[in-house]
């Protein structure tokens, strides 16, 4: 038996049905996501709704599946689809109950047909296999074998051990889609999310330069997006079949929505932001920490306390705490090494409660002078945490920093990106330069990444595949956008 003949014959037997299954799943996620976005943000541009449709549908699936597995409901295709539909209906119901009810037009007429054709073309491209990928050990086990086991056992079990404490459950659940609906990999889903990210990146750059002539706006948006697509760290991120692209994409969607909603009448749009941040919090095991940080960053913008506390942070709190209760109180985990431990879980819960208290009882009421410059205090606080970690174990911290700089400059697959960003910033510095929300998000993420890397056993290592380096790569879309937004202000 020759494997060179056997394997192509196996692939030949399944390639076409798998292609259509994956494409159909993507289309369903996108269409339901479009319905959700249209109901929550009725007055938005059609293009904006379409670009956010797939992330919304996928995020809704991740969160609803997470709730199914955490509550112990048997996890299968039927329960996953029901939970997905019900959570969407709850979102729409709450939005109709508590917010204004603008007239909703789901079918955008002739434009809709063009949009649908283009969407199908992009889905076909995403699933075609024409775009190359990188499959590593973590892809095969954390995001293929583990999701297969979740589907086989119909949920979480104690014996999953290290998978429960080290793998982003949201991403693992997205990767159960092949085993629920009859295909084999999620490359198409990942590429489709990359397309949504790039589309929104371009749309946002275009929207930011309203005062420029039309041709300049288009050229600037397209060239800016081209720069992102051509940079090596972004390509590495988008091709690696792991949780990093998902996390980077939802970080960008979160920052984009936070900025966009702060400048317009939000209405039920806050619920879309809530969904994005809730998704972000479950995509990686340390996602809850970043969701808390992002909510704090958003509190520097014009948002009401109740929106921040109940709309953004409370869902994150519920998702995180319910998971910690599920794995630490109802299961016995015996993994020899764990990233998420009981101590870290308690610490994160305490941080989330403290932030909830701050948003409900302190923000806008006490210490207003301090709060006026909250962005600076956040950066300072993160510096302080880094200094504390350095004092606790100077050798490990210095080693981490050394590995970080070696990765960024030589071995981590960053190519010319760091210097290109520095040059873009340098060319943008003038009297009009203002430290923006995007700058704040990118800078705080870098400081946060150092803290997260320190929290794991063993610290950062040199090399592109090191998980610390991959965590850093997640900042690329945010950082690139922050630099480009200043650069394009000066055109």
């Amino acid at each position: 038996m020759n494997p060179d003949q056997l394997l192509p014959s196996i692939a030949g037997a399944v390639a076409m049905p798998y292609f259509f299954s994956q494409a159909a799943v993507i289309l369903c996620l996108l269409l339901y996501g479009y319905v959700i976005v249209s109901m929550l943000c009725a007055r938005w541009d059609l293009l904006q709704k379409i670009l956010l449709a797939f992330p919304a549908g996928l995020g809704l699936f991740a969160v609803s599946s997470y709730l199914v597995t955490v509550t112990g409901i048997p996890y299968n295709a039927f329960s996953a689809v029901c939970a997905w539909l019900v959570l969407g209906i709850i979102l729409i119901g709450v939005s109709r109950l508590f917010f204004a009810r603008p007239a909703i037009r789901l079918w955008p007429g002739g434009q809709g047909i063009v949009a649908l054709v283009l969407i199908c073309a992009f889905i076909a491209l995403a699933c075609s296999g024409l775009i190359s990928v990188t499959v590593s050990n973590d892809t095969v086990y954390n995001y293929s074998f583990y999701p297969r086991a979740i589907v086989y056992f119909g949920g979480l079990r104690s014996n999953f051990d290290i998978f429960l404490t080290d793998v982003g459950q949201g991403c693992a659940l997205i990767n159960t889609l092949p085993f629920l609906f009859g295909f084999n990999e999620t490359f198409g889903i990942q590429h489709m999310l990359t397309f949504s990210l790039l589309g929104l990146f371009c749309y946002s750059l275009y929207s930011e330069t309203k005062e420029k002539p039309g041709k300049v706006r288009i050229a600037a948006a397209l060239l800016g997006t081209l720069l992102l697509v051509c940079t090596m760290p972004f390509l590495l991120l988008s091709k690696w079949v792991l949780a990093n692209l998902y996390f980077a994409a939802y970080m960008f969607f979160g920052a984009y929505l936070a900025c966009d909603l702060s400048r317009r009448e939000r209405g039920a749009g806050i619920m879309l932001l809530s969904l994005v941040i809730a998704t972000l919090s479950i995509l990686r095991i340390e996602g809850g920490v970043y969701a808390a940080l992002l909510t704090l960053l958003i509190s520097t913008l014009e948002y009401k306390n109740t929106e921040l506390a109940f709309g953004l942070l409370l869902p994150v709190f519920i998702l995180q705490v319910s998971y910690f209760v599920r794995i630490f109180c109802t299961m016995v985990i015996t993994a020899p090494y764990r990233f998420m431990t009981e101590t870290k879980a308690v610490l994160l819960t305490a941080v989330l409660i403290a932030e909830l208290c701050y948003l409900l009882f302190i923000r806008g009421k006490f210490a207003l002078r301090v709060q006026k410059h909250l962005d600076r205090w956040i950066v300072l606080a993160l510096f302080a945490v880094n200094v504390l970690l350095c004092l606790r174990d100077p050798h490990a911290y210095v080693e981490n920093c050394r590995a970080l700089f070696t990765n960024v400059l030589y071995t981590g697959g960053w190519s010319i990106f760091p210097v290109a960003v520095a040059v873009l910033y340098a060319l943008s510095v003038n009297r009009k330069f203002r430290f923006s929300f995007w700058d704040l998000s990118a800078l705080t993420y870098l400081l946060y990444a150092l803290v997260v890397c320190f929290m794991r056993e063993g610290g950062l290592r040199e090399g592109v595949g090191d998980s610390g380096n991959r965590v850093l790569l997640q900042v690329v879309p945010l950082l690139c956008y922050a630099a480009l937004s200043h650069f394009e202000e000066n055109l």
Partner: protein, 236 residues
Amino acid sequence: MKHILMIVAGIAVYFLIRLKKAYRTQILLTFLGLLACVSLVFTCVNIGGTVTLTGSKNQLIHQPSFVRDGIYPDTILPLMVQGKTVYTKDDIKQYEYDMNDPSAPWEDRLWDVHYGHNSRNLLAVMGAKTVADAGLNDCRIPDEMRERFTDLGYANDMYRFSFAVNDIPYEYGNFFHYYTIYTVDGNPVHVYLAAKDADAFLPGKENELVALWQRDRYCEDLYLMDRETFDEEVGR
């Protein structure tokens, strides 16, 4: 060097927009375009040496390079066994060990627990209908027959993560493979295939397969064959 060139280019653009203020927008947009092109060139030159990129036209997580490199047989095995009835040995022994007890004889006896229990569970999770058959317990694949099996690749990692699908308390799979296979013996476990019927492993067929685990050298490999091959050459 590339970083210095970028900085020099940035300085040149800075002075150029000072000298030609009327063309500021054009200069900056051109610079942005050039930056994208230079990034693309560096990416094209370096990305292949940084990570392994593969096409995915097969719609499978199994990549063509896995066959060449002899890795991750567990990415293609599910397609071969899904929906099929797979007969396995019925020789699983149950031991209760405390992993914290240094005197526990786990190093010696875990072989039986590990391969028997985990191989069968892995096949079940992959979608096979497994049937434990005590009649296969004493079956051994003859030496001359072994050479005719096709090697599907290195399966240490597959067994390493098998703790997730067994019912043994403690993460035995991980522990066992790190300390026994990776560091003590350092020997690879492999998955082997053989079939008289060329289509025996094709997806969609509901035929019968036989799975045997056999300790040939230092560790137990997994041998998967169709019923016909087993009846004619192994179970005679």
